[in-house]
């Protein structure tokens, strides 16, 4: 276990499946050949096959006794979907518009299909997924080269590309299949929780670009952080498939706001909910019932009294209400390691546990930058 743990909370009630996070991640990090097919961040439709195909059935993770379970390594064509391109150059010569490979499968092949019968009770919701930066990572435990490590300072799980020899046991060991093989360099790669951004005061690209403002980022031991409040104080954010035993550190506020169902005559069934709670229980465990109750109660409280810290938190009025990063802490870590501490490039979200003095730089008011207090 690391000294501190950086965590993310995603509010599934607010995810609109726009894939802006995916694009933010791809533009930020697909800067090397061989990563074309990888989505360190993906948004899949649930229920659905997911990405890679049927990842929940591919093994990995731990059983109740704490033994790593064998898993299956997905295939590029059949399970991930091969990235294809079009013959733009040939179009000028009069060629017809063709993909360079026959696409047979890809991420979101079944987007918005969901389950149920339209218009009676069909439903789906979006499930954005990144590496869970687990406290007990299956990938790390599976690596026979000890090439995967969990950063002591913030629990980010990383692949040491110098040690990695491309054996791919990590992929089998990760129950979320969030670690990928780069065949061009013959090494495994994965989401790095944008640690170079976080260290400098910027939230991960997926979180910053999220138009639904569904992603909260902070340290779990920072009681002022939004993630702490959602995970530990209100207990409305839960790990995905915690039954895999890896103790994931990306948490989800379960989708509670689904439409009502219709009966055979097309009439509203009062009090019904399209998303079956059993499905949510499968994803988020039995704690989901408590989380749903808290969410509903707080929503009611807000309606009646106008007051609810939880609702205000989930509305996420401003980015600074979503991210509590901790540059002071990283500076100290760098100093302790004898490295050059990095100056923050953005101080708006720096308000972490060890940040004694606020140092918001206001980019919007006036001509120049003005530094001011925060909170």
């Amino acid at each position: 276990m690391s000294k501190r743990q950086l965590a993310m909370v995603m509010d599934l009630n607010k995810c609109i499946g726009c894939q802006t996070c995916t694009v933010a991640c791809k533009t930020q990090w697909t800067n090397r050949n061989g990563r074309e097919y990888m989505y360190w961040n993906n948004v899949e439709t649930y229920p659905g096959t997911g990405y890679p195909k049927n990842w929940m059935d591919l093994g990995g993770g731990f059983d109740a006794a704490g033994d790593l379970q064998p898993g299956v390594i997905p295939n590029l064509e059949a399970d991930y979907g091969v990235p294809w391109d079009y013959n733009y150059d040939a179009l000028a010569g009069g060629a017809s518009f063709e993909p360079n490979v026959e696409p047979t499968w890809g991420p979101n092949w079944d987007e918005d299909e969901g389950a149920g019968v339209f218009p009676k009770d069909n439903y789906f919701f979006y499930l954005p997924r990144i590496c869970n930066h687990c406290t007990n990572p299956g990938c790390l435990s599976a690596c026979p080269r000890d090439a995967i490590f969990k950063r002591e300072e913030d629990g980010v799980v990383l692949v040491d590309l110098d040690r990695c020899q491309g054996y791919r046991y990590c992929i089998a060991g990760c129950p979320y299949k969030k670690i990928y093989f780069n065949p061009k360099i013959s090494k495994s790669e994965k989401c790095i929780l944008c640690f170079p951004r976080v260290e400098q005061g910027l939230p991960p690209a997926c979180a910053q670009q999220c138009v639904g403002r569904i992603r909260f980022v902070g340290f779990l031991d920072d009681e002022e952080s939004q993630v702490y409040k959602l995970v530990h104080k209100y207990k409305v954010a839960l790990g995905l498939r915690s039954d895999y035993g890896t103790q994931p550190n990306v948490y989800y506020v379960p989708p509670t706001e689904s439409p009502v169902k219709f009966d055979a005559e097309g009439k509203i069934i009062e009090g019904s909910d399209r998303i079956p709670v059993e499905e949510l229980e499968k994803l988020f465990g039995p704690e989901v019932h408590g989380a749903i109750k808290t969410l509903k109660d707080e929503m009611k409280k807000r309606k009646e009294t106008g007051e609810s810290e939880l609702m205000d938190l989930l509305i996420a009025y401003q980015h600074s209400d979503m991210f509590r990063l901790d540059n002071t802490y990283y500076q100290q870590v760098a100093k302790d390691k004898g490295l050059n501490p990095l100056a923050p490039v953005d101080t708006r979200y720096i308000a972490g546990k060890y940040t004694k003095t606020g140092h918001t730089i206001n980019f919007t008011h006036g001509a120049g930058l003005t530094a001011g207090g925060h909170h």
């Binding site: 090397r32 790593l68 898993g71």
Partner: protein, 403 residues
């Protein structure tokens, strides 16, 4: 199975035979340059090819479900090995059967390479205390030379050419400039997947990247023989090993990409003795590695049963897998009698690191005492020597059939 009488006779022969006739492989002294010798060299015609048996690694079980299923009942393989040496270098050629050519491709997540490795011990003065066969052990390092069959790989090389690792579509280049870019990118790739490692037990294996190893390896597929042919030549002496001796221990491993082979999914030999013809000494090593049974295997089997070894080890392939300790189902194939006896009497002398300590946290193969690894196995030094030898003899018989 050899009888005790035959065993004694062979060891007697080994100690009296001049020139180490019982060595598994005889390296022929030549005067020609060996620094870049490949399979194509006519020098190999002069060398003597000797059989070396390669057994499926079953000490630990990897966590790839598909691969485990297709490798469940692997047989042993018979490779043919020859060696040459001169004053500077020693060269090996290994031919092993493999019905399929498997190349690790640059556009697949599920293709695996055929390949081979040659392992050298950094110290072998005590032939009964060689490094653990699985890439050495603490305080007993090995050097491993690996050659795999791969399509171009663009390994991050730290040369600051990151911009050349991006997709061509992400550049702002067109026409001639784009072609030049493609050319530059292509020049960065290498299909020669040759690596050298220094290791003190698997997990610790570290690639030698500073050029301090002096080796050269080639590989080709022989269609007519349905098998691979690989050569490895290295300096007799460098900062890692000194092979200037009458006989040296060498071990071989091969991978079958068709069976998703990589890392532990491989076939490997025991330490085999290589006689450097014309150099004196090494008879002890040759005798220690000659593979003859050191006791009565039948009595040993009974002793193993009586001492409850199966409580922690999977012993025969028909026994249930047991995470408590290394599986012994092929231990006779890739272990020497000396190693087996040492492990029985002093389990902490050469520790098998085993799984990541987090992968099966209830089954630790060793504990740490002030940073020193201590085996969780109890020692059996209290057994009388005949029983010890019988147990070792039984373990020597635990191995897959050659096919």
């Amino acid at each position: 199975m050899k009888t005790i009488a035959a065993t004694l006779m062979i060891s007697a022969l080994a100690s009296t035979t001049l020139f180490g006739a019982n060595a598994a492989v005889n390296a022929l002294k030549v005067t020609d340059d060996l620094s870049t010798i490949s399979y194509a060299s006519a020098l190999w015609n002069k060398a003597t090819f000797s059989p070396v048996l390669l057994y499926p690694q079953t000490t630990i079980r990897m966590n790839d479900k598909t691969a485990n299923a297709i490798n469940a009942n692997n047989h042993a393989k018979k490779a043919m090995v020859a060696a040459l040496y001169n004053d500077q270098n020693i060269a090996f050629i290994i031919r092993w059967p493999d019905g399929t050519v498997n190349v690790q491709k640059g556009e697949s997540t599920t293709s695996y390479a055929d390949g081979f490795a040659v392992q050298f011990a950094s110290r072998f003065d005590d032939p009964n205390a060689l490094p653990y066969i699985g890439m050495g052990s603490e305080g007993r390092p090995v050097v491993v030379h690996l050659q795999k069959v791969a399509k171009d790989i663009y390994e991050p090389n730290g040369n600051g050419d990151v911009a050349l690792q991006v997709n061509r579509n992400q550049t702002d280049l067109f026409g001639k400039e784009l072609k030049a870019f493609d050319k530059k990118v292509a020049s960065l790739g290498s299909s020669d997947y040759e690596r050298s490692f220094i290791s003190e037990g698997f997990r610790s294996m570290t690639e030698i990247k500073d050029g301090s190893n002096n080796s050269y390896s080639r590989i080709r597929y022989m269609k007519s023989n349905k098998g691979w042919e690989g050569t490895l030549t290295r300096a007799l002496k460098d900062e890692y090993v000194n092979l200037n001796a009458g006989a040296i221990p060498v071990a071989f491993a091969v991978w079958d990409g068709e069976k998703m082979g990589r890392d532990g999914l491989k076939h490997l030999s025991a330490w085999v003795s290589v006689k450097l013809q014309g150099k004196s000494g090494g008879d002890d090593l040759i005798a220690a590695l000659d593979g003859s049974l050191v006791g009565d295997a039948k009595a040993g089997k009974a002793a193993v049963a009586a001492n409850g070894c199966v409580g922690c080890h999977q012993i025969e392939a028909s026994d249930a897998p047991n995470l408590m300790g290394p599986s012994l189902t092929n231990i006779g194939g890739y272990s020497t009698a000396g190693y087996l006896k040492e492990s029985l009497l002093k389990p902490s002398a050469a520790i098998v690191p085993g799984y990541n300590r987090n992968a099966h946290s209830a089954y630790q193969w060793y504990t740490l005492d002030n940073g020193k690894r201590v085996s969780t196995m109890t020692d059996f030094a209290w057994l009388d020597e005949t029983t010890q030898n019988d147990i070792v003899a039984y373990l020597q018989t635990l191995k897959a059939e050659v096919k």
